[in-house]
């Protein structure tokens, strides 16, 4: 059984939507904004501290398929990212503790715009399913072109004291052929 299938079987049952403006909703939006700040300001170790040890972090491929085959437009075999806590920490270590992570040295200038946040209860009182839109702009060197990465995040957040830990993130990208030379940045 693949790692992705295991997650699907262990995933919590998603329940009712939590209204916009509810206390837990506001706290979750605050977490997502804070997370965007950590990533955009390259505080990667601090971001790493918000990840759950049982993290699964994936970015499926997309394919252009007819209207009748939209379910097959999301590919979860080969993906763009297929990581767990240990491998994400390895990526952070490469970016922060070596002097030769050239794909992000000099680093990109990025803006993560997070919007359309919907929060759902799950069958576990301390875990919330969160759907949000991500629009990420990436500028490198003196290149005039800005890479734009857009997609939908499907997150699972676990309450951790006053904050949250990211347990699961799947980013459904909109491009079948990505317009950025690599994903050396976290989505």
């Amino acid at each position: 059984m693949s790692a992705a299938q295991q997650v699907a079987e262990n995933a919590p049952v998603i329940g009712n939507p939590i209204p916009v403006g509810a206390e837990i909703y506001n706290r979750i939006v605050g977490f997502l904004y804070q997370e965007a700040t950590l990533l955009d300001t390259i505080r990667l170790k601090e971001w790493g501290a918000t990840l759950a040890p049982d993290l699964v972090y994936t970015v499926p491929l997309r394919q252009t398929r007819p209207m009748s085959q939209q379910a097959q437009s999301v590919i979860r075999t080969v993906q763009h990212y297929h990581d767990n806590y240990r491998s994400i920490m390895g990526r952070i270590m490469r970016l922060t503790e070596t002097r030769s992570a050239w794909a992000e040295d000099p680093p990109s200038r990025t803006r993560r715009m997070v919007s359309n946040v919907q929060v759902f209860a799950t069958d576990r009182p301390d875990e919330f399913a969160v759907v949000s839109y991500l629009l990420l702009t990436r500028s490198r060197f003196d290149f005039p072109d800005m890479d734009v990465i857009s997609g939908e995040r499907n997150d699972l957040l676990r309450v951790d004291g006053e904050g949250f830990k990211l347990v699961r993130r799947e980013v459904i990208l909109d491009q079948a052929v990505l317009g950025t030379p690599n994903l050396a940045i976290f989505l």
Binding site: M1, V78, H82, A103, F143, A184
Partner: protein, 464 residues
């Protein structure tokens, strides 16, 4: 054979001046010039065999994927007779792209513009309003099919060429085939893809990636230096030295057709895994200690059925691990050290599809032996994604480098600078080396890449 070039670029430069044979230099403008790019589409991509995918992507009748041959879109489809056909994805009626999706299954490819229909084999079925004969009476139906490329399967990998009368794929591989067979034709059931390929755009000329794939070893020392700094490759205990140069000794195989293989010494890995001196071990014992990428010990008897004793000797001592198939393919059959001290083999294929003089599409297939257990395939898939392709910690540095070379090649002065391939082997093949071809041993040099450029030069200057 180099022929006397007759073609002159718009600014008066003879095409044959781009590659300076005596000093092993290439003019930088080759990496950006639109005029050169247009010539390449006919003279290189119109003549050579091109990687389009793997037959396991289209297992059933009617299955198809849409891919590119140079600047042309093609439909790669399995027909009712089981054969794979590669058809130009252009409706012969008014030039509409027939398939507008990436993949699917159909027995009828129908153009959405005027409804002309074609079989997976490219044969013309008919146009609407048959009784009014929409397709006209000037040409017979047989002449209204989709232009067919010549197709071959090699280890299940789909290659095609527009050069219908040119060399066979075997002739194209030449002496390099002996080595490629150890990668692609070594097991009973062969390889399969683990999913559709990753695809992304790099704002770089396809040759920046293509020539690096011709077994460039030097870039590893600097561009991939991090491998020596952290993680399972790092030289912990060696005073934190990030020196990767010990890995750069080996054997490099060049081809007159631009194919290249970097063969890397397995001795240290085998010693680490088995605790024994590789010189004292038989071929069998070495295979047991470290099976080839993606193979389990249970699968080892398959190797004997498909490969010669000489090929097995190379596989256990100095196997090809990275290299390229001209013009735009990179292969990786690599041994990746794991945290627990074991070694995980990975098998990948890339195509760098030209999308204009300063843009390429990076297409990355992740493969595994069909016979490998699912658990091994899953580990290979995850590790492949983490190291190679889109988010891969190794290749994200490569794809961030090529755009700078392409930009530099646009400068009024920069375009006249030259790429230099002046580190020349003086060794030849190691004593007793059993394989054919242009073989050199020792620390990595520029010969494989230089031979890549020589073949590019030959094709570009060949008489039409």
């Amino acid at each position: 054979m180099l022929t006397k070039a007759s073609y002159t670029l718009a600014d008066g430069t003879p095409l044959s001046d781009l590659v300076r044979v005596p000093t092993r230099e290439v003019q930088m403008r080759a990496l950006s010039d639109p005029e050169i790019y247009q010539l390449e589409m006919d003279r290189v991509f119109g003549k050579t065999w091109l990687l389009l995918g793997h037959e396991s992507e289209v297992p059933n009748s009617g299955d198809f994927v849409v891919r590119d041959m140079g600047s042309d879109s093609v439909i790669v489809a399995r027909a009712k007779d089981g054969n794979i056909h590669v058809s130009l994805n252009v409706c012969p009626h008014r030039g509409m792209r027939i398939s507008t999706v990436d993949a699917g299954n159909t027995q009828i490819h129908k153009c959405i513009y005027h409804g002309w229909a074609f079989k997976p084999s490219g044969e013309f079925i008919g146009a609407p309003v048959e009784k009014e004969c929409m397709h006209g009476k000037m040409m017979p139906k047989e002449d209204l099919g989709l232009p067919q490329a010549r197709v071959t399967l090699y280890g299940g990998i789909i290659f095609a060429t527009w050069d219908l009368e040119g060399p066979s794929f075997e002739e194209f591989l030449g002496d390099a085939k002996w080595y490629f067979d150890t990668l692609f034709e070594r097991s009973d059931k062969g390889l399969e893809v683990l999913g559709p390929p990753q695809r992304f755009i790099v704002r770089a000329n396809w040759k920046a990636a293509g020539e690096q794939s011709a077994a460039d070893g030097y870039h590893t020392l600097t561009l991939h230096r991090w491998l020596g700094e952290v993680g399972n490759y790092s030289k912990s205990g060696d005073g934190g030295s990030a020196d990767l140069s010990p890995e750069m000794y080996g054997v490099e195989v060049s081809s007159p057709h631009g194919h290249a293989l970097r063969c890397i010494d397995l001795g240290r890995k085998i010693k680490k895994l088995s605790g024994l001196d590789p010189a004292e071990l038989t071929v069998e014992q070495k295979l047991e200690a470290l099976p080839p990428p993606g193979m389990t010990r249970e699968m080892l008897p398959q190797l004997r059925k498909h490969l010669s004793e000489e090929q097995l000797e190379v596989m256990v001592s100095m196997p090809p691990q990275v290299g390229g198939i001209f013009p735009n393919v990179l292969f990786a059959f690599v041994y990746i050290p794991q945290a627990d001290g074991s070694v995980l083999g990975l098998t990948l294929l890339h195509a760098y599809v030209p999308k204009g003089p300063d843009q390429l599409e990076f297409v990355n297939w992740v493969l595994a032996e069909k016979d490998a257990p699912q658990e091994l395939k899953d580990r290979m898939l995850m590790q492949s994604i983490q190291l190679f392709g889109t988010s891969g910690m190794v290749e994200q540095d490569d794809s961030d480098t090529w755009p700078h070379m392409t930009l530099a090649a646009k400068g009024a002065r920069g375009r006249r600078s030259t790429l230099k391939y002046q580190a020349v082997y003086e060794t030849g093949a190691p004593a007793g080396w059993p394989g054919p071809g242009i073989v050199n041993e020792g620390f990595t040099k520029d010969d494989t890449q230089w031979h890549w450029w020589l073949y590019w030069n030959e094709l570009m200057n060949a008489k039409a």
